[in-house]
Amino acid sequence: MAYKADDDYDYLFKVVLIGDSGVGKSNLLSRFTRNEFSLESKSTIGVEFATRSIRVDEKVVKAQIWDTAGQERYRAITSAYYRGAVGALVVYDITRNVTFDNVERWLKELRDHTDSSIVIMLVGNKADVRHLRAVDTEAATAFAERENTYFMETSALESTNVEKAFTEVLNQIYQVVSRKALEATSHSTSLPKGQTINVGKDDVSAVKKAGCCSS
């Protein structure tokens, strides 16, 4: 359905945020769209979304980001919102292994419900909680490579990499769209997946730096 908002944009991209409950999806969303972080945020019931427009290549890209409840038994409802998504952030909590383990299931579900050309980024959130890290950056990187997704570690609380993660996903979607490759189903599309991150500028190192919490 067309989104007839007053504001002007060239592209509207629907992006979904998925992952186990409590990994910080809602705070990633609020950090990106409103630059807010709340320690008091409540669990998400059902689905919510927020929007933000960014500029990519002289074009205004409006991101409509859907935030879903993380608990398993709500998936019947929340998966309805995958429809039409061209990007996804699959979020886990770097302090909880189980949320990382479940990423595989989230990916499967995502791929079951969306077009294969969807741009997916694996996001390890709560990177600020360094002393409680349970998921190695290396393991996650390897996993992302295996799964052919982008990867980034973020901290919604410290605002680390949040902007970067979203804009990277939007950028990649834009690349796909502008190459009119969105409909392509072949895995051999020129979509540069598989690298830890491939922003094309100086972001590879930046990401790596942010990703490891030794600093």
């Binding site: 359905m1 067309a2 989104y3 007839k4 908002a5 409950s21 409590g22 910080g24 320690l39 008091e40 945020s41 409540k42 669990s43 019931i45 059902g46 689905v47 919510e48 979304f49 409509q64 409840a69 993380g70 608990q71 038994r73 709500y74 998936r75 019947a76 409802i77 309805a80 909590d93 302090t95 909880r96 292994n97 189980v98 383990d101 709560k126 600020d128 909680v129 002393h131 409680l132 349970a134 609380l157």
Partner: protein, 672 residues
């Protein structure tokens, strides 16, 4: 469809009132205890004086209908809210005496404490005023580094250090009608002495001992460092083997062991020592089923946390104390091993499932109503967590589901005693369980379908608009229905909304049905003399009420209707109401035939409240939403006006209107 011009554009105007009057008598049959309020009564609410006047000399409720009317008009005075809610939710039969209720409450508290103890054997944090997992303002349920774990405090010393007198005190509290009983409260003191006393009363959880010792050494340290959980979950026996444990296992195994369904017997699984462990990695739950040959074998804790070895001598005396307190006079079960092995296996799975659930619970508890000062106190968060944990344990088919904590929170605030809060919560969930079960929120989805039908009949323009913009799923109303407007209203507003909805929907027949849905572990046995008392009360009741019926009370007063062919009490579990109420059969039939869908959830007020909110905000919605996304946004961001009283008033009117139309349509189809 009888959608004429007047009906299509629904307003709160007089035109529709005329309709309502016309169908007044029909609508009453649908089972609405309260007619719409007259505008003159707008500022009314149920005040303490009026509330106290509804009881007769024995404490039976005789004028509940009047009270309901007042509640529907404006809610309940906060000073009596806790008391009134128990009746609204069906925790008590209206015909029960004050004495009976007191005893029932005692029995419930005792049962709850039993359940807490059971849960504590699976995770030592339950019932201690601490959360199972560390949750900081920054860190949600973070795992520990547990630097202290290596130190391995000897548990024995902790156990030995407990003060027997404190233990006695704790029990004497229980003995004392439980009126002053609240371990939670006790534990809220910062005194480590109290903490250790409470802990020592737990005959089974020896991990407790370890914690007690830690507490005594340094409570703060315990809080912030050594018990950073997920780590080593102390391994405990699920099934007590020692004599002292019996007091716990009695309730405990009841619902797994079908042989002792309604009796408060204990089935000790002596033959096996069940143990489980979660090691440092939360993701790893290991279970083992270790045959045990000795009753006083120590419980073994696998973990990096202090090893805990516990003797059982002290427990023997505890057992005696506990037994003396039991309301049930059913003989103690023998302590032989009667448990079939497969039930153990089932239980292992249950325990590991429950432990996962506990983790999810904590993740949500720390972010439930945390804007309230009340929950700034972590002990109150722990209360919420405990209740959810107990619920998940007794109702494994539901477990814990997001949204439940929103529903529970008001009860935790309202009731000082966790057991009371638990029972109200549980009564509420009996009505809403379908929303939270594993298959997903099917209950809410049904309600949304009903909402769609309602809109079609009462506001065709809105119906059309939502169709055009592709919002037929009505998912935007999902949250409202799932957590009953908790997210859209302030805390106080939501409480008012709840009580007004419950009062408008109050129907003792439904409470009766709900009673039959009692979860098995919550079925309470009755002391023989108590049930006798009830029985005689009931027959008195029945006579009086029959008289009332004969003298021509209208049948909207469903509360008073009873037949003298009352069901034998003995077959009825006592889990909320007594079996005092039985419905005159043909009357019930009548109700069913008249109410088009009384048995579905079609007529529940919350759905009509959503419809009312849509209609109150209809101009805004019609004007400002151009896509389904817009509606979602409008609802999620709370951009709608929701005045509780107005919403309830309108919802009640809409319900009448809807059923009137439904009946009209139905009667067009059939000859009557």
């Amino acid at each position: 469809m009888s959608v004429d011009g007047e009906d299509t554009r629904w307003m709160c105007g007089r035109a529709s009132m005329v309709n309502l009057h016309r169908v007044g008598s029909i609508v009453k049959e649908i089972g609405e205890p309260c007619l719409y309020p007259s505008p003159a009564k707008r500022n009314k609410m149920l005040k303490p004086e009026k509330w106290h006047a509804v009881f007769d000399g024995d404490g039976k409720v005789i004028g509940f209908r009047k009270a309901l009317k007042l509640i529907v008009l404006g809610g309940v005075d906060p000073s009596i809210r806790a008391e009134v809610w128990e009746f609204l939710l069906g925790c008590y039969n209206l015909g029960s005496t004050a004495e009976y209720r007191r005893q029932l409450r005692m029995a419930r508290r005792e049962r709850y404490e039993d359940l807490i103890k059971q849960c504590r054997t699976m995770h030592s944090s339950v019932g201690t005023g601490k959360l199972a997992y560390v949750v900081g303002s920054k860190v949600m349920d973070a795992r520990t580094l547990s630097k202290d774990n290596g130190s391995g405090k000897a548990v024995i010393s902790g156990y030995a250090s407990h003060d027997p007198t404190n233990k006695q005190d704790a029990y004497s509290d229980m003995d004392n009608d439980y009126t002053d009983y609240s371990w939670q409260k006790k534990s809220s003191g910062t005194s480590t002495e109290l903490v250790s006393a409470r802990m020592s009363t737990d005959s089974a959880a020896c991990n407790f001992c370890s914690r007690a010792s830690e507490c005594e050494i340094n409570e703060l340290q315990y809080d912030t460092e050594s018990y950073y959980d997920f780590p080593p979950l102390p391994v405990t026996n699920l099934f007590k083997r020692s004599i002292g444990d019996e007091s716990e296992s009695k309730k405990h195994e009841k619902h797994d062991d079908r042989t002792s369904v309604s009796e408060r017997t204990s089935q000790l699984k002596d033959g096996h020592m069940y143990s489980f462990q979660i090691n440092n990695n939360e993701d790893l739950i290991m279970e083992s089923d270790i045959p045990s040959t000795s009753n006083d074998e120590s419980e073994i804790f696998h973990s990096n946390v202090p090893k805990c070895v516990e003797g059982t001598k002290e427990m023997v005396s505890e057992k005696d104390v506990v037994n003396g307190l039991r309301i049930s006079d059913i003989p103690e079960a023998s302590m032989t091993d009667q448990a079939p092995t497969n039930s153990l296996v089932i239980n292992e799975n249950r325990v590991s499932e429950w432990l996962w659930t506990l983790h999810r619970i904590v993740v949500d508890v720390v972010r439930t109503d945390n804007h309230l000062e009340f929950y700034g106190d972590s002990k109150n968060m722990a209360r919420m967590s405990d209740i959810l944990a107990v619920y998940a344990w007794v109702d494994p088919a539901t477990g814990y589901c997001q949204g439940m904590s929103d529903l529970l929170s008001p009860f935790v605030v309202l009731y000082e005693d966790d057991a009371d809060a638990f029972w109200c919560f549980e009564m509420l969930l009996r009505r809403m369980r379908e929303n939270f079960q594993m298959e997903g929120p099917t209950g809410v989805m049904k309600q949304l379908q009903t909402l769609w039908k309602i809109l079609e009949l009462i506001d065709i323009e809105m119906f059309g608009h939502l169709s055009v913009i592709g919002a037929e799923s009505l998912h935007f109303a999902f949250r409202m229905l799932l957590v009953l407007f908790r997210r859209e209203l302030t805390f106080d507003e939501a409480l008012r909304m709840w009580e007004m909805m419950w009062a408008a929907d109050f129907d003792e027949a439904i409470c009766q049905k709900l009673e039959e849905n009692c979860l098995e572990p919550l079925v309470l046995p009755l002391k023989s003399n108590l049930s006798g008392e009830i029985r005689s009360n009931e027959s008195g009741n029945v006579k009086r009420k029959l008289k009332m019926i004969r003298s021509g009370r209208r049948n909207g007063e469903s509360l008073a209707q009873q037949s003298d062919g009352a069901r034998p009490i003995s077959v009825h579990p006592l889990c909320g109401l007594s079996s005092a109420n039985c419905w005159i059969e043909n009357e019930q039939m009548q109700r069913h035939s008249l109410s088009v869908s009384r048995n579905n959830s079609d007529d529940e007020l919350p759905v009509f409240c959503v419809a009312a909110i849509l209609i109150i905000n209809r101009q805004k919605i019609l004007r400002e939403t151009h896509s389904f996304d817009d509606v979602i946004k409008m609802f999620n961001d709370n951009m709608l006006k929701i005045n509780v009283k107005r919403c309830i008033r309108l919802a009640i009117k809409l319900r009448k209107k809807y059923f009137y139309k439904l009946i009209k349509i139905t009667s067009l189809g059939s000859s009557v």
